[in-house]
């Protein structure tokens, strides 16, 4: 079951590489939140109420509902054009993301260590690099926030793989911090939409020596 979910997750990464509209990006991120909930739910060894509530909160409420809803709100409010406008063509993106997945596969296989399950490791690494790739190749500031979300999702998969040793208090702190930083990024993306004519990284080139 976990494997199916993880593979679906990887497919969603490839799908995001060829997605054309901003709304599709948001939907994929929400879908990834649901997948993460599935994976976490299956992987939970001891289902006590506290863990369940925490995982539910982190994946469904925050990753699948709150953040996508918030991104959608910014998208509508700033009348951002619906195309994602990447620097490279979607075909190249698909090839690159496929290569990333393949590369992570070989990288994970070269690790001579049995303590981390390989499939988790592969998926996490792919998500990490895909997120970075999305940030580098997309022009809109809001897509940068989405790239950051993809990276965060990858880190979540990785944390499931290693079975976090963090106490509840630390976990909650981490969750809150990530949530606030995404909200802050969103707020500032919103402000950039207000101040500059376009939400475009080309506008952010004034600070230099």
């Amino acid at each position: 079951m976990t494997n199916i979910l993880l593979i679906t997750y990887t497919i969603s990464l490839i799908y995001i590489a060829m997605a054309n509209r901003m709304l599709t990006y948001i939907r994929i991120i929400a879908f990834q939140g649901l997948l993460l909930f599935g994976i976490a739910f299956v992987e939970l060894i001891e289902i006590n109420l506290l863990n369940l509530v925490f995982v539910l909160l982190e994946t469904i409420i925050i990753k699948a509902v709150a953040i996508p809803y918030f991104l959608k709100y910014i998208l509508d409010r700033n009348r951002i054009t619906r195309e994602a406008e990447p620097y490279v063509s979607n075909f190249v993106s698909v090839v690159v993301v496929t290569l990333i997945v393949l590369g992570s596969f070989f990288l994970a296989n070269s690790v001579q260590d049995t303590s981390v399950r390989k499939i988790f490791f592969i998926v996490a690494l792919s998500a990490l690099f895909t997120g970075l790739y999305i940030i580098i190749t997309r022009r809109k500031i809001l897509t940068h926030v989405m790239g950051f979300m993809i990276i965060e999702n990858g880190v979540f998969v990785l944390s499931l793989a290693v079975g976090s040793e963090m106490p509840m208090l630390v976990n909650t702190g981490i969750l809150l911090d990530i949530f606030v930083s995404v909200i802050l990024l969103g707020i500032f993306a919103d402000k950039i939409g207000d101040v500059f004519e376009e939400q475009d990284v080309e506008q952010l080139k004034n600070l230099k020596d």
Binding site: S115, V162, S164, S181, I192
Partner: protein, 475 residues
């Protein structure tokens, strides 16, 4: 005490946010300064006693707590001056003060934390509060600076988190079930070198965003430039110590393992590159604040050189950090007066400073000598010790390269500073220049005097603290 401190600063920052009155602001600022000092004194008197499970005042934390308690007093004082000269709305002022209190409190908590995860949480909190300070002026450039700062810091802190996960992998193999630094260094020799290497790479890269080192230094430079100068002073000194403490605590763990030589190489590469990048930018930078920020990059590079070369270098690195945290705020506070006189940040528009503000010009000149580590600057002592340790550890080529680069930096810095002091500015209308009272420069003189005093004649207690902070590192 830490519990009282954290809740106290939360209440004070809330009060700041809602206060609309100058007198109340002054009272709140004093209340926070007293709270901060009380924390530093309390932790100094209760060393190594764990509070609230996650906070232990070890020697390094106590040193940096002392430094931040000293630096935050002039920072608040200059914020008051800043707001009398640049009247912002009371609401914006309140937000600024509140963010400053949260920033100071989260920095202090990050120093004291004894758990990898808790350090992470508070370091992330510093990003969030610092972004409010950077965005204070609410124009296009500050927006750009803030966006870059939050974005790069968020990515970096995620890298740190990945590093923590890798530590968890190897920690689980050894059957340890928590991430307290004490536990980690106790079991360090048993941890798997492969995962530790991976973890060190991620954690080191992540914390360089805060420490202001290559590769993640860029956002910090923009932040120090765009934040109002009292906040810039905090970002350029005590916040960089947070990055250092994050790196140092993990470095301490790896120092007990077989990968110690490898970590030193990584630290050394980052250090030399930092000094190199600082040199390149110092040669071409024309914005005074950015010039000061790049000087911070150079000094952090030197600190890391001390760490990488070992021996007396450990001691000198920490001493250098302390002195840098006193000297750099003095420069930033002085910049506030320069900006008020000339209304520009560019070296081209500033000149003949002696004519308009004698005390300020003297501060600028002295702080130039202090920050470039010329005697009698205390930083001369620490840099000298770092160079000696480089020599002793056989890194002669690195030493020669760094010394050459530093010479270029001193020249580039001096060229700009003396231009500002003596050469007539172009098209400057001096009919509206207000005289700056001496009292506004007093705090800078005190800070600079501290650099000289602590460097040349460090108090016995401080030496003891530094020695106990580095006692676990291999000699």
């Amino acid at each position: 005490m830490i519990g009282i401190y954290l809740s106290g600063s939360l209440i004070i920052s809330l009060c700041f946010y809602f206060a609309r009155n100058h007198l109340i602001n002054v009272i709140l600022a004093w209340a926070f300064i007293i709270l901060q000092t009380a924390l530093a004194v309390y932790e100094y008197n209760h060393p190594d006693i764990t509070q609230l499970e996650y906070f232990t005042p070890d020697a390094l934390a106590v040193i940096f707590l002392g430094v931040i308690s000293i630096v935050c007093i002039p920072a608040f004082y200059h914020t008051f001056i800043y707001f009398t000269k640049h009247p912002y709305k009371p609401r914006e002022q309140g937000l600024f003060y509140a963010a400053m209190v949260i920033l100071t409190a989260s920095i202090s908590a990050a120093y004291l934390s004894n758990h990898l995860g808790i350090t992470w949480v508070f370091v992330e909190l510093t990003t969030l509060s610092a972004s409010t300070l950077i965005y204070h002026r609410r124009n296009k450039l500050t927006l750009e600076g803030t966006w870059k700062y939050i974005f790069i810091c968020s990515i970096s802190i995620t890298l740190v988190f990945i590093g923590i996960l890798f530590v968890t992998v190897t920690v689980q193999q050894q059957g340890i079930d928590n991430l307290f630094y004490r536990n980690l260094s106790l079991h360090a020799p048993d941890l798997s070198p492969f995962w530790l290497k991976l973890a060190f790479l991620f954690i080191f890269t992540g914390f360089t965003a805060k420490a202001g080192l290559v590769p993640m230094y860029t956002a910090g430079i923009d932040a120090k430039d765009k934040a109002p100068y009292p906040a810039g002073a905090l970002l350029a000194s005590v916040l960089m110590n947070v990055g250092f403490i994050g790196i140092f605590r993990f470095y301490e763990i790896t120092s007990h393992t077989v990968i110690y030589a490898w970590t030193n190489k990584i630290v050394l590469i980052s250090a030399v590159l930092s000094v190199f990048v600082a040199t390149v930018y110092m040669l071409r930078v024309k914005n005074i604040k950015r010039m000061m920020a790049y000087s911070g990059l150079e000094h952090m590079g030197i600190v890391m050189l001390g760490l990488a070369s070992g021996g007396i270098g450990y001691y000198a690195a920490i001493l250098h950090l302390i002195l840098h945290s006193f000297a750099k705020p003095a420069l930033f506070f002085q910049f506030g007066q320069i900006y008020r006189t000339y209304g520009s940040k560019s070296v081209y528009d500033v000149g003949q400073y002696f004519k308009y503000n004698i005390t300020g010009a003297v501060v600028l000149m002295i702080s130039y000598f202090i920050i470039t580590a010329m005697p009698p600057s205390g930083m001369f002592v620490s840099e000298f010790l770092i160079f000696r340790s480089l020599f002793e550890s056989g890194l002669l080529w690195v030493l020669i390269l760094v010394m050459l680069l530093l010479t270029v930096i001193i020249w580039a810095f001096g060229k700009n500073v003396f231009k500002m002091l003596f050469i007539k500015p172009v098209n400057f209308d001096d009919s509206h220049v207000e005289p700056v009272p001496f009292s506004e420069s007093l705090s800078q003189f005190i800070l600079l005097a501290l650099v000289i005093y602590v460097g040349l004649n460090p108090p016995a207690e401080l030496v003891q603290l530094i020695n106990s902070a580095i006692s676990t590192l291999p000699r």
